[in-house]
């Protein structure tokens, strides 16, 4: 059997060549990325990247690496990594406060409160500074201004039969904001599961993400939706025919905390990023991106009333205890398999 000799030589050479190239390539990557801060987040990809650029500009020498996906995907990845004995993440930032409570119970979060953070309302500093609300997001009712002539005023306008089949919401199985909304609304007086049954009768369409809901609202596929506020303001500013209201029952605060993990590989860099988020520059960039700032004295984005907003605070204790039940009921009601 001498036949394959030539072939084998060739293969051997190729393999060695590839190996060398690969090692050089990996080595150069290692050198250039010295001790980055790694952030796992469900923040909007373009917004958090814009933030990264501004942060790195103001903190020379610190690199921020971002893993960005839907809340559930990020948590699944974290869960898997924790089970395997360690995560790459230095800090996490996403729309599932329940998970932060869980991590607190497991003592996996490092407390840190930047000096500026004390100016924010105390209720947005959780568990002694283990995690923080760095800007505010609300779930509200939004509508397409070309398709809806009478400005809605209530969450219940979503069940108006004249918009049957044209109403969209995000899936609580994917979106933390949608899950907070579900967990809050089932306990609101006059709402409960009855409200969701009526939504179903109105042939509501359950999309995966808030972004998709906002997009389909702009294109006119949906007439009225339940969606997070900043996306609507952003689309409106770009020229899309959309607007959102502050429902008379109150907009629902969607907690999206940020926290630093114990065992972070670059804890100083992570603290620097948290300080940046609370800085005047960081807060102003939030406003520019359409978010409501958490620090007083920073002017909010256009379209946000300066008087006190009607806000329903999310009932975290309830949501935390009834997580599985909420999901199971929702799955059954909307026949999501």
């Amino acid at each position: 059997m001498r036949r394959p000799m030539e072939v084998a030589k060739l293969i051997g050479l190729l393999l060695v060549g590839l190996w060398v190239l690969g090692v050089i390539w990996a080595g150069s990557a290692e050198v250039s990325a010295a001790a980055p801060v790694t952030l796992y987040t469900s923040e909007s990809l373009d917004k958090v990247n814009e933030m990264k650029l501004d942060f790195e500009k103001r903190n020379p020498g610190v690199t921020l690496n971002i893993y960005r996906s839907g809340t559930q995907v990020v948590i699944s990845k974290l869960q898997a990594e924790f089970q395997a004995g360690g995560t790459l993440a230095d800090m996490i930032w996403m729309a599932d406060i329940d998970y932060f409570e869980d991590l607190t119970r497991k003592d996996l979060l490092a407390a840190y409160t930047p000096p500026e953070a004390d100016k924010a309302p105390a209720k947005f500093k959780y568990e002694g500074g283990r995690y923080h609300e760095v800007r505010l997001i609300f779930n509200t009712v939004a509508y397409n201004t070309l398709r809806v002539k009478t400005r809605p005023s209530s969450w219940k306008d979503l069940t108006d039969p004249q918009f049957k089949g044209k109403v969209g919401v995000a899936s609580p199985f994917y979106s933390g904001a949608a899950f907070s909304t579900l967990g809050t609304q089932v306990n609101m007086p006059g709402f409960g599961w009855e409200f969701y049954r009526k939504l179903k009768e109105n042939a509501v369409i359950v999309e995966q993400s808030n972004g998709t809901v906002a997009k389909k609202l702009a294109t006119g596929e949906f007439s009225m939706v339940s969606v997070v506020d900043f996306m609507v303001r952003e689309a409106k500013a770009a020229g899309s025919p959309v607007d959102h209201i502050w429902p008379k029952e109150g907009a629902i605060l969607v907690p999206t905390p940020v926290g630093i993990l114990k065992g972070a590989k670059n804890p100083e860099g992570a603290r620097a990023f948290l300080r940046y988020l609370y800085s005047t520059e960081g807060q102003r960039l939030f406003v520019q991106q359409g978010y409501v700032p958490v620090l007083p004295g920073i002017e909010g984005p256009r379209g946000v009333p300066s008087e006190k907003l009607e806000v329903v605070l999310t009932d975290q204790a309830y949501i935390g205890k009834h997580r599985e039940e909420l999901k199971a009921k929702y799955r059954e009601l909307f026949e999501l398999k």
């Binding site: 059997m1 001498r2 036949r3 394959p4 030539e6 072939v7 084998a8 293969i11 051997g12 393999l15 590839l18 690969g22 980055p36 790694t38 952030l39 796992y40 909007s44 990809l45 373009d46 990247n49 814009e50 990264k52 650029l53 690496n65 971002i66 893993y67 960005r68 996906s69 839907g70 559930q72 995907v73 699944s76 898997a80 990594e81 395997a84 004995g85 790459l88 397409n144 070309l146 199985f173 994917y174 369409i205 359950v206 995966q208 993400s209 972004g211 998709t212 809901v213 609202l217 702009a218 294109t219 689309a235 770009a238 020229g239 899309s240 025919p241 959309v242 599985e324 909307f334 398999k337």
Partner: protein, 518 residues
């Protein structure tokens, strides 16, 4: 020669055991255990769920129809290009790229078929181009009509290729994730892959990973069954085919030439160019929902993409390096595997083939799950998780079979007697390899490389679960943006990806055609 065997066997064994066998076993372990104890609870939960059977039916339903549609499209197109005087053949030869895979027309079947028919096309085309036209010429000059020649000579000879192409299309449809995810989710239409993905992510559900692993075994059963069927149908049919260079068209389309030419052109325009234009226009749109017009067009999405989302650049680099490396590894391994499969009689060839096809037959989501379960903790001191290497390992395992198919087919078609003839005429081994084997299998190596590299550039299913901070791929970026509802941005990125894919494709084809002629 033990050293030679070692040299051949070591890389093969390392890849197949490390990247396929070990993760598969871990996956099976998770399917049949709970908290480390063996149990059939996962299996029972899956089999007693009426919904699973509906999801399974959905999968088979869309895949069968897409295979029929895609297989027919690919075969007819390959025949027209390789065997008739269809006008503009040279263009059609390079025009077949599933670039529109990222977005498509509504309808999972239609999009699946359009996205995958090039697999059937490439396979059949390669076979037709290697087939000696003298056989058909002989039939014609013996008085057979063109139709009879096509039916009795061409068709039987390319039947293995058609079967291989169809099975590729079917498997790719069964395992496809992106298309049913984007088109199926709003309609709550789940197929097995999207169901498994959802189960992996439903971490609130007890034993979700075990259930996902069990579901994936169901899909493996379907895929394995179809492969067994294919082998049964095609088993034992091997034809020694030889050279074919610069052959003249065999079948004249006659008065239909113009009509068929226009038809093919329109089809290609409608299925490739029109979606591309749609993406381009979306990418240029300033705001959704406003009437279409110049005032609503602009480059701001590209500006955002390039200057505010720095990760895009890195993702692009990662994907290109990953695709090239994975394809090169795959082709090198494919030569070894094809050689063992076709030219040797070692025991365990069936196992070898199973290991090669396994990562491709199961949904990528499950390959990713197996990789995660296998490499989450360091293995033999090597930590792959959260590095780019786990993606490379997954890509090589996944796309290996794509490279093996054409190379093995080429080895099959180069009858061993040719090499033996060269050897017995006094040619040295290296000369026989250089002058006989290599020229005959070179087109297969090139097409194998492309078959592995092209899907890797825009790969989504594996990387969406294996990527980590700093190790993004382009497919992940497009999907994440799309999933987030940032369609204007993802379209702008898709335009860039298509430009890169098209350019590299044309460039490489230029290079390889130069090679082939030399």
């Amino acid at each position: 020669m033990p050293i030679l065997r070692l040299l051949l066997g070591l890389p093969l064994g390392l890849v197949l055991v490390g990247a396929v066998a070990y993760p598969s076993l871990i996956l099976v372990w998770h399917a049949f255990t709970r908290d480390g104890r063996p149990t059939l609870a996962n299996l029972a939960a899956v089999l007693h769920d009426a919904d699973i059977w509906r999801v399974l039916w959905n999968s088979v339903h869309v895949s069968v129809w897409a295979t029929l549609l895609g297989g027919a499209l690919g075969t007819v197109l390959a025949f027209l290009v390789a065997r008739t005087d269809l006008p503009g053949q040279r263009i059609f030869r390079t025009a077949e790229e599933p670039l529109f895979r990222i977005y498509g027309a509504p309808g999972i079947i239609l999009v699946l078929a359009l996205a995958h028919y090039p697999l059937a096309y490439f396979t059949v085309l390669a076979s037709l181009e290697r087939m000696d036209p003298a056989l058909e010429e002989a039939a014609r000059s013996s008085g057979a009509s063109p139709a009879r020649t096509a039916r009795d000579v061409t068709l039987p000879l390319v039947a293995p290729a058609i079967g291989a192409g169809a099975i590729l299309v079917f498997l790719r449809c069964m395992e496809n994730f992106g298309i049913p995810a984007i088109l199926g989710f709003p309609a709550k239409y789940f197929v097995l892959t999207t169901k498994i993905y959802a189960t992996i992510l439903d971490f609130d559900r007890a034993h979700n990973l075990g259930l996902a692993a069990t579901l994936s075994l169901l899909l493996v059963a379907v895929a394995g069954g179809s492969i067994a069927l294919q082998r049964r149908i095609l088993g034992g049919r091997a034809y020694g085919l030889t050279r074919a260079v610069g052959q003249p068209p065999i079948f004249s389309l006659g008065e239909w030439r113009r009509t068929v030419g226009i038809g093919v052109t329109v089809f290609l325009l409608a299925t490739s160019v029109a979606p591309l234009l749609a993406i381009l226009l979306t990418a240029l749109t300033r705001a959704y929902g406003m009437p279409f017009g110049w005032s609503n067009l602009g480059l701001q999405n590209f500006h955002t993409l390039f200057f505010k989302v720095p990760v895009v650049w890195r993702a692009m680099g990662n994907s290109l390096v990953l695709a090239a490396s994975a394809a090169t590894f795959a082709v090198v391994l494919a030569i070894l595997i094809a050689y063992v499969q076709v030219r040797t009689q070692v025991r365990g060839k069936g196992l070898l083939e199973a290991l090669v096809i396994l990562p491709f037959a199961v949904p990528g989501t499950v390959v990713a799950l197996a990789m995660i379960l296998a490499f989450l903790r360091p293995v033999l001191g090597l930590s792959l998780y959260n590095t780019i290497w786990i993606i490379l390992v997954a890509y090589v395992a996944r796309f290996l079979t794509l490279a093996v198919k054409p190379v093995a087919a080429a080895f099959t078609q180069v009858h061993v007697s040719l090499e033996e003839a060269a050897r017995s005429s006094g040619a040295s081994l290296s000369r026989s390899v250089r002058d006989i084997t290599m020229p005959l299998i070179r087109p297969a190596l090139v097409s194998g490389w492309f078959l592995a590299a092209v899907p890797a550039i825009t790969e989504l299913t594996l990387s969406v679960l294996l990527w980590s901070a700093g190790n993004e791929t382009i497919g992940v970026m497009v999907f994440n943006m799309h999933e987030e509802g940032k369609v204007l941005l993802s379209s702008a990125l898709a335009v860039v990806v298509m430009a890169v894919a098209l350019t590299s494709n044309l460039l490489l084809r230029r290079l390889t055609s130069g090679l082939a002629e030399a």
